[in-house]
Symmetry: C2
Subunit: 324 residues, 2 copies
Amino acid sequence: MPNRVDQYAIGIDIGGTGTKYGLVNHRGDISYRGSNIRTNEYDDVNDFVDDLYKELKPSIDAVGIENIKGIGVGAPNGNVYTGTIDFAPNLPWRGVIPLAKMISDKFGLPCSLTNDANAAAVGEMMYGAARGMRDFIVITLGTGVGSGIVSNGMLIYGHDGFAGELGHTIIRPGGRKHEGTGAHGSLESYASATGIVLTAKEMLQQTDKPTLLRNYPLEQIDSKLVYECAMQGDEIAQEVYRFTGQILGESLANFIMFSSPEAIILFGGVIKAGSLILDPTKEHMEKNLLNIFQNKVKLVLSELKEADAAILGASALVWEKREV
Amino acid sequence: MPNRVDQYAIGIDIGGTGTKYGLVNHRGDISYRGSNIRTNEYDDVNDFVDDLYKELKPSIDAVGIENIKGIGVGAPNGNVYTGTIDFAPNLPWRGVIPLAKMISDKFGLPCSLTNDANAAAVGEMMYGAARGMRDFIVITLGTGVGSGIVSNGMLIYGHDGFAGELGHTIIRPGGRKHEGTGAHGSLESYASATGIVLTAKEMLQQTDKPTLLRNYPLEQIDSKLVYECAMQGDEIAQEVYRFTGQILGESLANFIMFSSPEAIILFGGVIKAGSLILDPTKEHMEKNLLNIFQNKVKLVLSELKEADAAILGASALVWEKREV
């Protein structure tokens, strides 16, 4: 076996707006990073792959293609078994896109593809807060709520590659309607940035209490504003985070009773509120756990720099241990 | 590698009332079965192990101890990592019991121990409805609700051995109180035999509709009676099963979005009601799934004979593939 420290992997993270990519060695050092590609400007996925190749070619030549083990791609609705992106609502390409094969053919390298939250979990296991752990869950709290679950040292992909959609589990039967899925009371409808804004607007309607949030027209209230008001000590804005933490904590308790992870790692914009959301999350998580699980599971924040995490996670797929 | 078909495993299933045990070959043929040991008559666990040994010794001698690969034990609160039974409320032995070591020392054979629902899952994978599956969930619906989860071909034990307590996940926040755990709205508080009786009693109080159940004093209503009335076409008794199925179906949807199993296998007394509970279960399971999971997951009944399932499941632990 060659010394893997001298080997490289390419990581590509495809988002609805932009795509990030880089060259990473086995230790997680990013020797090249790029973000010049605007995903939503490519109507034709072939042009997208061509431009990705042009961007990465110079750095591939610099280390020699023989020293690159492969390419890892994190993408919304990415399926590890088929290497396809299936019906991703936030990408410009319709239907089923065989992206792993297209990239592999263009670059002349093997390519693994999965969804972005799974890539994040592999990244945390190799380079982040989950180093050395065999059982953990990563929850990404951003515009939506994503998740990657590792048990027995391996990602849980399920029989079809779609496992780990914890954002869509129902925590309030008959509760708030999710505009994208039509489901009522899913975790994502509360604990995402979108959910936080909805909670804030609901609270404004339900109370007459003074709040900084009333200084703004309803349509200007976004998650950043709720965050800023909360940080300034605004009671209603803080109550928004407390409620969000409660829902998140109740959900985490259910997840723990499923896979009994050593830790739950939180990642994404929503957790910038720090203890305002973490304290109620922890409280309601513990409160809803069966006693054999209480005070055992670490609730930790991702250690990866947000700017690098997506590239690291995608590149880590290349080194992932997987049974197929 | 020797031909495993000629090898045997001992399976021991420890219940709160009785203990079942048997000698099983690799194909799942039970060549000896016994059930003479009443668990609750043993204040001292040493006497229990001694009597187990006396019961099994003749059949061990008959095939030769060199042809027995090991002993598998399914027991409430059994922990696979430590080989101990930890604080099992329904067993006569208090605290932490190092049962795997005690049995191994007495018999001179390796011993694996886990909880009864995990043993059931391994049994289904080797001999039952999950043969050839790498991703499935077994739900046991009896006095309580237990579960065993298999992903990537391996049981999910979690970091501490306690994974798979799906009966204790919360499906109705703030709902019915579970007498044993104090939790509100857990699956077990509704979908167990105990839960069915509570639902029936609640419905009797909430409605004036005629029902056969009113022919009995409230304290005589048990799950068998609810079942019999439902089978005779009693509307209220059938509504009890419909409601139970709804709760179960909503829970199953959440479990599917966690691990995306190929099938969910149901086992235990509660499912004797057949389509009365399965139809609403399936309906509400599908209704609460994200579209990528819909109409994909098989909802099946265990194929194992109830009398043999416990011994088969426990013995299958001996052959289990496990990463440690």
